[in-house]
Symmetry: D3
Subunit: 135 residues, 6 copies
């Protein structure tokens, strides 16, 4: 499967832009593991650079939401977009950041219920209450 080839470390080493991103992934994550998403993006160095920069800024920079909360939100979006790869990678990331079974269960319950009430509100085409329009 896959519509782009997965770059090996040898191939990545031969392209300075790809090598720089792979190196930074390893340094940032303190791990030798570079997952397939980045290997599939390596054919497109500009897109690879921009995407990794965004991930670092959005998921890893200091902020008001803790790292685990960010992963939970990421999983929620990925499940609703039926992204097999993203659900697997971000669920693994959430577990690595300490997600407990209880937290996973609560996340699943919210994701499911939100999808259900989204479908109901869209089927009923409920008009937005004036009370919600604060701007």
């Amino acid at each position: 499967m896959g519509t782009a080839k997965l770059w090996t470390d040898e191939e990545a080493a031969a392209d300075p832009r790809v090598k720089a991103v792979f190196d930074d992934i390893r340094i940032t994550r303190k791990s030798e593991f570079v997952n397939n998403f980045w290997r599939a993006l390596a054919s497109q160095p500009a897109l690879l650079e921009r995407t990794w920069t965004s991930i670092k800024q959005v998921m890893l920079a200091p902020g008001t939401l803790d790292p685990l909360t960010r992963e939970l939100i990421y999983i929620a979006v990925s499940a609703n977009n039926a992204c097999t790869y993203c659900v697997h990678s971000h669920t693994a990331a959430a577990r690595a950041k300490g997600m407990t079974n209880e937290q996973h269960g609560e996340l699943l319950a919210i994701v499911g219920l939100a999808a259900e009430t989204n479908a109901l509100a869209n089927a009923l085409q409920v008009p937005v209450d004036a009370e919600f329009l604060v701007f």
Copy 2:
């Protein structure tokens, strides 16, 4: 707009099942305000009861995720499902539970980036790494 009529309080008072849910919404939320989602669902008492019970269990019962985090996850799903009503109602709920402008910005950034990388992973059909398959 809307594919079902919005029940007034007078109409709700005339149906014991609908009245019981509306009363419980008011008691639970300590507010007289019953928003349009519940008024649109009132034509279907069994669905109204089940949905409200689920919302209470998933969004309000004690658990490991705090109430604001639950709302952030709800907004994330609703935005990806293009549910106008749900985005408005749950963003208002998140603000009522203390969501700051900084938290909203971080949520938006994650929701947008997740949608972007979901689209990329789906377009590339990236194979799931063996490392992510813990079961």
Copy 3:
């Protein structure tokens, strides 16, 4: 709103291909009413013709599913695609074909529950049981 203009009957009358479709809509439905979807498509006669032909074949030709069941399925898809126009038009069509309040409520319950369990199965990435693979 709208990204294409809505053709009036006068404008439609001036284009033989558009006029032919509008005439056939009126004859087929035994009504003078031509709804906005067809007026917005009129700028693209080939697409207008093909779409109307498909609708007639899929929704109106004799078959094993009765006309109301077809509309219920149409609403289910439209709600999940957040198509405001389609939800309104096909809910109106279902009512015109006899959909009762009870049937609408059961439809809503299935649409909501399916969306919920879809999200759960996608979040859990449940492997398909061998028992379901009949081919």
Copy 4:
């Protein structure tokens, strides 16, 4: 694949809440087969219980829509949400409830055409006709 482990019958037997749901699934369906969806949900007993209760109420309780029609609607939603598991399980369920090849073909035609016209109406942003606004 999968982001949660699939519980065996032995593991289920050791948790009274999970065992009770698995037992009820078997009694209700008059079959020993418990499909993977429930085995993946077993890690979350509260969610497992609530989801099974909803399925029984929505899909199996007496009502105005017959059991096969309910499955057709479920398939329609699942296909649009790209839920591999759900499409497989509910197509199998529909066949078990008597879905013929002709009915499957008509369902597919409606699901495809609805997705097409949803995309067209969303691309054209067609304004809703006043005639459809009955509330």
Copy 5:
């Protein structure tokens, strides 16, 4: 996998309607290869005929958009709908029509960015500017 069987050439040869479509696919594409999408649709001859006719008209008939541009648009939609089969088949088709690695990269960048800003605009529920309402 699959919820309908894939027809072999022998089976197709026994049904005149299916045979006619398979023959036309081969003549039109100047290739013996008939891909699985058509083999899965063969159980439904009317749907098979209509879908192939639409594909020929929309993707192959002379027009103002060149064949490669049409495939790029097709991939964009398919990625956002998480259609594994469609992403694979239309990416292969685009490559066969000359898509370069640079073009694929630019397509991916647009598809990802559009998904991101769609999510942002839906989360912010940005009101449409009057300047965009030309009709």
Copy 6:
């Protein structure tokens, strides 16, 4: 409508980061018009900056796809994500870049047909042909 306020030029002028982006939008587009998407994002300067930088790089930088083709792809994604704002803004942008009525019609036809065959392939769960697996 809207879940974030729309910044006026006066408010934007008071925040150096927001002012810099608004100035660059005006210089880049050679127009005084700053559309609501950017005004709604202004509450989140970091996200505003990153999103505008991405748009400039992906939609405006020299490349192998011409500017109009990029807009057509953007519209295709936006229609499938039911993003009202994005469909309006990018259809207006495509028209400003010369999109003809014929091109719009061909785009609509592809977007609709892709959505239809996506739904069919997902409902049929068609296995990917080995011929498409080039990596």
